[in-house]
């Protein structure tokens, strides 16, 4: 194959200033020529350490991108950024009436019925963090195809900035959450500091999940249609708007192992830890066993696994 290449190059040699004069380079195959002048294969996937280094070099881009997306999100709405907290609050209000009032979900809330609102709002905000990371993660590549095809940067920047954007959104919502907590008699305590490690771990888990979803979504666009149903099922199974243990064991008399499995799922783990941190009456007895180990395990396994999984297809994003 290389010989034919050189035939065509030779025929162009007659032209001055366009092709080089005959030189020993002509005898080299393209691969050897490339090696001689230090050229590298275009679009090849970098090694994992190189990839991490490239990503670190783009940290300002990731941060700026997530901030820009956050502000642009509601730029066409008249109330603007207000929707960032209004949306989860309205969701919580709907759940309060349906699950709390109509279906009696307030029973069994640790500390009694009056704790239901802090319990619910914490759950909704924390679950929304994971849920939107998944939903936006699926579209992380496909909705930024223009950028992917125009500029060269480590593609993992996009899903990572998706979950970073959700983290910033959650931090905004925290202000509202704290107002609600104080309104319902939960005052700041040392246990509130536990939200920091919880958020860090949940962020690691969400980022991994966003990376996994981004790779799957770039190959199978249909997932964007399917995921809302998956996350909704996940929400009901994680006890966002009712205490899982009470609901399953006392009211539905489900087997104990099912409760254990559902309580060990990452969304429930991070939600329970956050409630444990914020609500006084939410004690260690309401947490599943080995809860911190579970939180750390999910974050490390999904976070790192998702990163490697995404990197494996780095050179194929933006195709077609």
């Amino acid at each position: 194959m290389s010989e034919t290449t050189h035939d065509s190059a030779d025929s162009a040699d007659s032209a001055v200033g366009v092709a080089p004069p005959p030189s020993p380079d002509d005898r080299l195959t393209p691969a050897e020529l490339a090696a001689k002048y230090g050229l590298s294969v275009s679009g090849a996937r970098p090694s994992l350490p190189d990839y991490v280094r490239q990503l670190w070099a783009r940290r300002h881009f990731i941060l700026a991108f997530s901030r820009a997306k956050l502000t642009a999100q509601y730029s066409q709405a008249k109330l603007g950024q207000l929707w960032q907290v209004a949306t989860p609050l309205l969701n919580a209000a709907v759940y309060f009436f349906i699950f709390g009032v109509l279906l009696g979900g307030r029973d069994g809330t640790p500390g009694g019925k009056e704790n239901y609102v802090p319990f619910l709002v914490t759950g909704v905000f924390v679950f929304t963090f994971t849920q939107t990371s998944v939903l936006n993660g699926v579209r992380a590549i496909s909705s930024n195809l223009g950028l992917v095809r125009a500029l060269h940067f480590p593609r993992a920047s996009l899903p990572i900035s998706v979950s970073l954007q959700q983290l910033q959104q959650l931090l905004f919502s925290m202000i509202v959450l704290i107002v609600i907590l104080i309104g319902f008699g939960q005052f700041p305590a040392w246990s509130w500091l536990l939200i920091v490690p919880t958020l860090v771990l949940q962020f690691g888990f969400n980022t991994g999940l966003a990376l996994i979803m981004a790779r799957l979504g770039s190959k199978t666009p249909d997932l964007a249609q399917l995921m809302p149903f998956v996350t909704r099922t996940w929400m009901y199974a994680s006890g966002v708007m009712f205490p899982l243990q009470h609901m399953l064991q006392t009211r539905a008399s489900a087997p104990g192992w099912l409760v254990d499995v559902l309580q060990a799922n990452p969304a429930a783990v991070y939600m329970d830890l956050m409630r444990f941190a914020f609500i006084d009456e939410y004690t260690g007895a309401d947490l599943p066993p080995h809860v911190w180990a579970l939180a750390l395990g999910w974050a490390v396994v999904v976070g790192l696994g998702g990163f490697v999984f995404f990197w494996k297809a780095e050179e194929r994003y933006g195709r077609g």
């Binding site: 030189s23 020993p24 393209p30 679009g43 991108f65 820009a68 997306k69």
Partner: protein
């Protein structure tokens, strides 16, 4: 893969052994390759191009049979293209619509994976195209900053060059438009801003895909001057254009693509003469 590398390396000393005079020749004439394409084939996989996608039974049938690429069509856009580009060259790419010019550039930029064959490049080539939409819901200002960061510029560098980029684009000539969202820009304004952002950085290999066509006369002059500057900084510039005059003004070498194949590769005048004969037919 490792085996191939070893053979290359063991082959290298032999080549340089007989090449003392070769190195002298290289030193005398700076023919340093920056882009080498080796028998490059590119196949697009397009969803939704196949007939009968709308029918649910057909979709189900595909899933059950696990046929790879149900609802998917393959388009063989580039068929076996080989060329070597050298430092300091400006190369024009011509050919009728759909002949594979943009696809070839995307592959050189590493944005589209090759089906077979390889592209070797010096550093990271940058592609500047009309389709390269930036973030339309953000202001022009934010796009300048984000585009710069994505290209790997530091915040200080962007801060220093920000005014130059805006001035070069000419966006603010008719008012304070840089603080408006990009969705409000005309296609010409958006293309100008994109070119200005990409041209702010010195590239080893810069590829321009009809990005200048939308700008007005004044902007085209300015960008042609910038292309000449970039070439002087020891880069290689590729230019796709349907405007033969702008190819003649900026390029000394032209590749003519037709139906994904390289028809001619030579000095601008020769290739353009053939091309004009072909198009006037």
């Amino acid at each position: 893969m490792a085996v191939a590398e070893h053979t290359e390396r063991s082959g290298a000393p032999a080549a340089s052994g007989q090449g003392t005079e070769a190195q002298a020749a290289v030193a005398a004439t700076p023919w340093v390759p920056t882009v080498i394409a080796e028998d490059l084939h590119i196949v697009y996989r397009v969803y939704g191009g196949a007939k009968g996608r709308g029918s649910a039974t057909a979709a189900l049938n595909r899933i059950i049979r696990r046929k790879p690429g149900g609802g998917m069509r393959e388009v063989h856009a580039v068929r076996g293209v080989s060329f070597t580009a050298y430092r300091g060259q400006a190369i024009g790419l011509i050919g009728s619509n759909g002949s594979g010019k943009s696809t070839l550039l995307k592959a050189v930029a590493g944005l589209l994976p090759a089906e077979s064959g390889r592209v070797y490049t010096d550093g990271q080539p940058s592609l500047l195209g009309v389709n390269a939409a930036m973030m339309n819901d953000l202001t022009g200002e934010r796009n300048v900053i984000l585009g710069g960061l994505a290209m790997g510029m530091s915040r200080e560098e962007i801060g220093r060059r920000y005014q130059d980029i805006v001035d070069f684009s000419g966006i603010n000539e008719k008012g304070d438009f840089i603080t408006l969202p990009m969705r409000t820009y005309s296609s010409g304004m958006a293309a100008r801003l994109r070119f200005s952002i990409a041209a702010a950085k010195n590239h080893d290999v810069l590829m321009i895909d009809e990005a200048l066509a939308t700008g007005d006369k004044k902007f085209q002059k300015r960008s042609e001057a910038r292309i000449r500057e970039l070439r002087k900084e020891a880069g290689t510039v590729f230019l796709v254009s349907h405007n033969n005059k702008s190819i003649r003004d900026t390029c000394e070498r032209v590749l003519w693509l037709e139906k994904g194949q390289l028809l001619l590769d030579g000095p601008t005048d020769e290739v353009l003469k053939e091309y004009e004969k072909f198009t006037s037919k």
